[in-house]
Symmetry: C2
C-alpha cells in the first residue's frame, strides 16, 4: 500500500515521541513492502514562533492532501499562563480538527495486565478494563461563539449541537458497540443542559436501529465517579466534546500512565492520529516522554487502512516492551535510563525481528 | 441561639437522610440549649407531583425567611430519561441556588483514616487527603441562555461569567486557603474557553492581595487525572460551576463513598446545606442510604453560625460511627442490617451521651 502521511510533531515532547512512531511506521513499511511517504508540517507554538500563526496555510494544505495525519502534541506553558494571548497553540489543533472535519475522536482505554500495579487504582478494580471512548470532536463549547466584552469584564462560550452532528457519531459508536460487548453509555448532563437533552433524544431515537446494543445514560458528574469505582461496567462511551476531553484524560489513571493512551480522529474524508497527552513541556527534551501513546496512534493509523497484521505487530512490540520493562520512567522502576528513543528502538527492532528482540 | 431552619427533604432518599440530620440537630439544640425551629417545604419531583412545579412560591418564601436551609436531594429517573420534559426536578434546586444567591458551594473532601481501604484508590495514594472545593454555583453554563430550535434539531447552552461573579468567590477561596495550607488551585479550560480565561485573569489579578498563598493553574482534563493520581497535592480548589460539579463527585472516590460528602452553599444573605449525592432513587426507602453526608451538612450549618463546639460534637459522633462500623452498607461489610435510621440514632445517642455510646 502507498500512503502519504503528514507528520506534525508540534510542541514540547511532541517531536520526540513522534520520531519513535515514525521509526515504527518505517519499519512496518519495510517489513510489509508498503510505501509510506512522510512530509512534516508546522503546528502549535512552534508554528507561531516560526510563522506567527498556529496553523499555517501550508500545513493545512499538506494535511488536506495527505491520506492521514500523524500528530504529536501542542501547547506551551507561557500561553497557558497568559489569558490575554489572542494567538494560541491550541488554535492549531482545533483548526485542524475542524478544517479536516474530524468529528469522531476514538480513545481506547485498555488496562495492561503487566501494568495493573502502576495504576492509582486497586488491581481488582481495573483488571480487564477495556473501554472505547467516542468523543465528538468538532462541535460543542470548543467551537461555539466566544465573546469577551470590550471592557474585558464579561466572557462567554456557547455550547451548540445540531442533530446531524450528534447522529453521525452516535451511529459510529453504536456500530463499535456491536463489534464489542454491545453496551453503549451516553454521558451528558441532560438534567441541566439543553444540548445534552438533544444528545439524549437522538440516542434514544437511534437505539431501535441497534436492537442488540444495551444503552445506559449517565450524567457527567456521575460518570466521572463511576469510571473510577467501576470502570469495567463500560464498553463504549459516547459523549460530547468537553465531557470526552475530561473523561478520557481521567481514564488514563486506569492504565497507569497518560503516556499510553492513543487516539484516532476520524471524519468523512480525513483521519488524524495522536496521543491524548499534551506537550508535556516540563518533560520535553529529557528523553523521558513515553512514546507508546504515539506508537499506538500509529497502530491505529495502520488499522484505519485495514493493515491489521501490521498494527498487530506494532501492538506486539509494545506489549513486549512493557513486559520486559523497556519503558520510560513513568512506568519503569526496574531499569534506569530507558529513554524515549530506546523504547522506540526496541519496538523498531522487534518489528524487524519479532522472534529475537530482547533488552540489550 | 435561635435559628429558623427551612427543611427541604426533596426526592428519593432525600427524606430519609434529612430525617437523620434533623435528629442530630434536635439533639444538639437540646444539649446546648439552642432553639432550632424547623419548617418543611416541598421541592423537586415531589413538589411537581403535588403542585405541578419544582419550586413552589411557598417554598421559596420559606427559604428566604429562614436563617438557613437544610436540603435533602432532588431528581427522579423518569425525568432523567425524558429529554422532552419541560418541567424538571432540578429546576427546583437550581432555582433555589439562584434566588437565594448561593454563589459559593463549598465541598470538603477528607479521607477518613478508618475508611482508606474502602476507596478504589490505593491507601498510600489518598492517606491524609484534605481538599476544600470552592465551586461557583449561580453562574456558568447552568444558568446561561438555553435554546432549542423550533424544529428540535439544534440546541445550545451559554456559559457566561462576569468579573464580579468570579471575584467574589475567588476572594472566599483565597481566604480559605490562608486558614489552611495556603495553596489554591484554579481549575479551568483557559486554553479553549473565553470564560475560563476571564477566571484565570481575575485570579491572577487578585493573587497579589494574598501573597502568602501559592496559586496553581490546571486544565480541567488534567485536574480530573491529578485528583486521582495525586490528591494530596490539593488544598483549596477553585472552579466554575460545571467543572466543580464533575470534580467534586469524582472526588468522592477518595473518601470511599459519595454518601460521606457534605456541602455548604453560601451567599450574601442566605445559606443552604446539602449532601452532594443525588436522590439515589434506586436505593430510596430501603434503609440503605448513607445519612452521614446529610449529618455532616448539618455540622457545616452549625459552623456557619459559629457553633463550633456543637459541630465538633456532631463530627465526633460521625467519627465514632465510622470507627465502630455503625454505617450503611456502602461502607459497612462488618455488620448486617445497619440502616439509615440506625446510623442517625447512633449519632443522636452519642450527642446525648458522648462518653457512653456504643453499638447496642
Ligand atoms: C490541547 C487541548 C485543546 C486538547 C483538547 O482539549 O481537546 C487536548 O486536551 C486533547 O484532549 O486533545
Ligand atoms: C442535581 C444537579 C442539578 C446538581 C448539579 O449539577 O449541580 C447536582 O449534581 C449537584 O452537584 O448538586
Amino acid at each position: 500500500m502507498k500512503l502519504n502521511i503528514a507528520v506534525l510533531p508540534g510542541d514540547g515532547a511532541g517531536p520526540e515521541v513522534t520520531a519513535q512512531a515514525l521509526k515504527v511506521l518505517k519499519a512496518i513499511a519495510m517489513e510489509f513492502n508498503h510505501v509510506f511517504n512522510f512530509t512534516e508540517g508546522l503546528v502549535g507554538a512552534s508554528a507561531i514562533q516560526k510563522t506567527g500563526i498556529p496553523l499555517p496555510e501550508e500545513t493545512l494544505d499538506l494535511c488536506e492532501n495527505a491520506d492521514a495525519v500523524l500528530f504529536g502534541a501542542i501547547g506551551n506553558t507561557s500561553y497557558d499562563l497568559d489569558p490575554n494571548a489572542k494567538i494560541r497553540p491550541e488554535q492549531g489543533l482545533l483548526g485542524l480538527r475542524k478544517s479536516l472535519g474530524l468529528y469522531a475522536n476514538i480513545r481506547p482505554v485498555i488496562a495492561y495486565e503487566e501494568l495493573l500495579n502502576k495504576s492509582s487504582l486497586k488491581k481488582r478494580q481495573i483488571k480487564d478494563t477495556n473501554i472505547l471512548i467516542y468523543r465528538e470532536l468538532t462541535g460543542g463549547i470548543y467551537f461555539g461563539d466566544k465573546v469577551l466584552s470590550d471592557d474585558g469584564n464579561k466572557a462567554s462560550d456557547i455550547c451548540e449541537y445540531n442533530r446531524f452532528e450528534v447522529e453521525r457519531i452516535t451511529h459510529l459508536a453504536f456500530k463499535a458497540a456491536q463489534s464489542r460487548k454491545r453496551k453503549l453509555a451516553l454521558v451528558d448532563k441532560a438534567n441541566v443542559l439543553e444540548s445534552s437533552r438533544l444528545w439524549r433524544r437522538v440516542v434514544q431515537e437511534l437505539t431501535p436501529q441497534y436492537p442488540d446494543v444495551t444503552v445506559d445514560y449517565l450524567f457527567i458528574d456521575n460518570a466521572a465517579m463511576e469510571l473510577i469505582i467501576n470502570p469495567r461496567q463500560f464498553d463504549v462511551i459516547l459523549t460530547e466534546n468537553m465531557f470526552g476531553d475530561i473523561l478520557s484524560e481521567e481514564a488514563s489513571v486506569i492504565v497507569g500512565s497518560i503516556g499510553l493512551l492513543a487516539s484516532a480522529s476520524i471524519g468523512e474524508k480525513h483521519a488524524m492520529f495522536e496521543p491524548i497527552h499534551g506537550a508535556y513541556t516540563k518533560g520535553a527534551n529529557k528523553g523521558i516522554a513515553n512514546p507508546i501513546a504515539s506508537i499506538l496512534s500509529a497502530a491505529m493509523l495502520l488499522e484505519h487502512f485495514g493493515l491489521d497484521d501490521e498494527a498487530a505487530l506494532v501492538r506486539e512490540g509494545v506489549d513486549k516492551s512493557i513486559k520486559l520493562h523497556i519503558t520510560t520512567p513513568d512506568l519503569n522502576t526496574k531499569y534506569d535510563h530507558i529513554t524515549t528513543t530506546k523504547v522506540g528502538d526496541f519496538i523498531e527492532d522487534f518489528i524487524n525481528n519479532p522472534d529475537e528482540t530482547n533488552l540489550n
